[in-house]
Symmetry: C2
Subunit: 342 residues, 2 copies
């Protein structure tokens, strides 16, 4: 009976609109009108009484009830692969900022980059009847063909789906190819001729684009990508890949391009652990410009991605009727980890 009891307790102690109306001596409708957004006019005397009653009782509208009565709920669902990863943390902060501005609630779920899990979550999320869904989850499968059905289900439910990369009703695009190309070109200009790439993940759009872009840029500048190592997205994966790479042999003057800063940071550790030096001996560059890239020594050369702003844009994309992503080139940020050759 705990449940029933608890329910009764919760209910009995929470004033309803009905209570407020009665206390104010007005009808339910009037109370609703003054308390919740309606445009309808209510005489000041009534308005006051209702407001006072609501205040005294400590009334707060039950969102669930409103949602079902209105047929729409004030929630935005956000799916991220890993909220502890700064990449997603920054995106989430942008989303949260936007939602706050509009008085919407953000619901968050972690996919762990597992498509199956992602679909499960998406399915469960449907029950919330959110106004929008933001998928920043699938660095491991964007462009993949797993969740279109689940996503479509949302659209037909009236919720806008926004994805980082392709797939949803709207997409927030990150010019991975362009940014990486510029980085490659810049690195070639700084004298690097040999590069190896870390963190490649076949079929992951982001990964493929960054790799292709970098190769194009680096080669156009006379450089050569000699090897590519697959690996995950975590710091440890970067260290692991780098260790393997070192075992394979890495000449001084080689440039290591890690497909994300987090991976780059892991690689730097591995380089150091192997008794080599980051910078003058082995150069390293990453992608994203998450805060940690400025904390390492030497600081990491990377491509700045305005993650928080993109999160904000993703939010706007879910709620605004008209929306277009502001164009902005990804900027290369050269720091100490790529001192240049000669």
């Amino acid at each position: 009976m705990t449940t029933a009891e608890g329910r009764r307790a919760a209910r009995s102690s929470t004033p309803t609109l009905h209570d407020v109306a009665r206390a104010a001596g007005v009808s339910l409708a009037t109370a609703s009108r003054v308390l919740n957004g309606s445009e309808r006019k209510v005489a000041d005397s009534f308005r006051e009484r209702v407001e006072q009653a609501a205040d005294e009782l400590g009334y707060t509208a039950n969102i669930s009830a409103q949602s079902i009565a209105r047929g729409t709920s004030p929630v935005i669902a956000l799916l991220v692969a890993d909220i502890a990863d700064p990449f997603f943390g920054l995106i989430a902060s942008g989303v949260a900022r936007g939602a706050d501005e509009r008085g919407l609630v953000v619901t968050i779920a972690i996919t762990e980059r597992d498509p199956e899990r992602e679909n499960r979550i998406l399915r469960a999320l449907r029950g919330q009847r959110p106004q929008g869904v933001i998928l920043a989850a699938s660095r491991s499968e964007d462009g993949g063909q797993e969740s279109p059905d689940e996503l479509a289900a949302f659209s037909s439910l009236g919720a806008r789906t926004v994805t980082f990369g392709p797939g949803g009703d709207r997409g927030v695009q990150i010019d991975n190819h362009g940014g990486a190309e510029r980085l490659g070109r810049e690195m070639a200009a700084r004298g690097y001729r040999t590069a190896i790439v870390l963190g490649a993940s076949e079929g992951v759009r982001t990964s493929d684009d960054r790799l292709a872009g970098f190769s194009a840029g680096f080669e156009s500048g006379g450089g050569d990508v000699v090897r590519t190592y697959r690996g995950g997205f975590a710091r440890e994966d970067g260290a692991e890949s780098m260790t393997v790479a070192l075992a394979d042999g890495v000449e001084p003057g080689t440039l290591v391009f890690a497909l994300s800063d987090v991976v780059a940071v892991g690689a730097m550790t591995a380089i150091r652990d192997a008794g080599r030096t980051v910078g003058s001996d082995i150069a390293v560059c990453g992608f994203d410009d998450v805060p940690v890239s400025r904390d390492v020594t030497p600081q990491l050369t990377t491509v700045r991605v305005p993650l928080s702003e993109l999160g904000y844009q993703a939010f706007r994309a879910t709620v605004d009727a008209e929306w277009e992503q502001p164009e902005a080139d990804l900027e290369v940020v050269v720091r100490g980890s790529t001192p240049g050759i000669d």
Copy 2:
């Protein structure tokens, strides 16, 4: 009319339990029983038909409707100061993991360490009638007297409030004093005799405890905390405080204790920028052991706080009838940033 239209559209396209029941040729009650957790027995033949109908229609229960009918909603509200800060990101990941295990939804809100904002959010959150509220928001005011009313409102509403630090129905405790004391003692044992502290924030419980603990430990080992610098919780605040400290003069062999790793990392940058050396010249230690502490060079000596696990505990605390925080001492992790003296 957009609203009305949209609503109609959303509604008409989403199958309700009613639709399922009709399609399966059973009553609403039966459909409800098979689809949603009820213990009641339903004949297999009926069960099958209902399940099939639900499947074909792509039915998903409307959580809002269930919430209002049941009088309880499956949501846990999480308040954090800044989701992009690894400290909170890790806590959030633990909370999310727990919620996922129990099929609960996590709602997230950002307080920006602003008590006023926090209260506003808390108030709005009430409308969700969450089962629990986790407050990991107030590093800037735990122990303060701002939100007790809002928190109390939740309790009387049937939601359990869990805070990091004191204040809620239950609290997840971090032994800041003990950990810092051990750190101080250890540092003294490594030969440090002079320390300055960065990131102190008067009235912030966490800050006060860490400062007091460290002082006690360090002094008991023969050391002396000579100066304390106030400052915020961000990397930049650490850099700033450290710059001021350097201007005041910092002798070689001094130990800098930053009240959090993030601040410590900022301090390290400032030290370097000033042409000094972290480690042999000026030693640095922090608190929390967030990932970045292992990425910097030299790696940062700190006190390990199992943030993600604590987030998980906080979740358990909100939902479990019986709960007790597992005791575990905070462990000092000595790394390169405090090589020791002599």
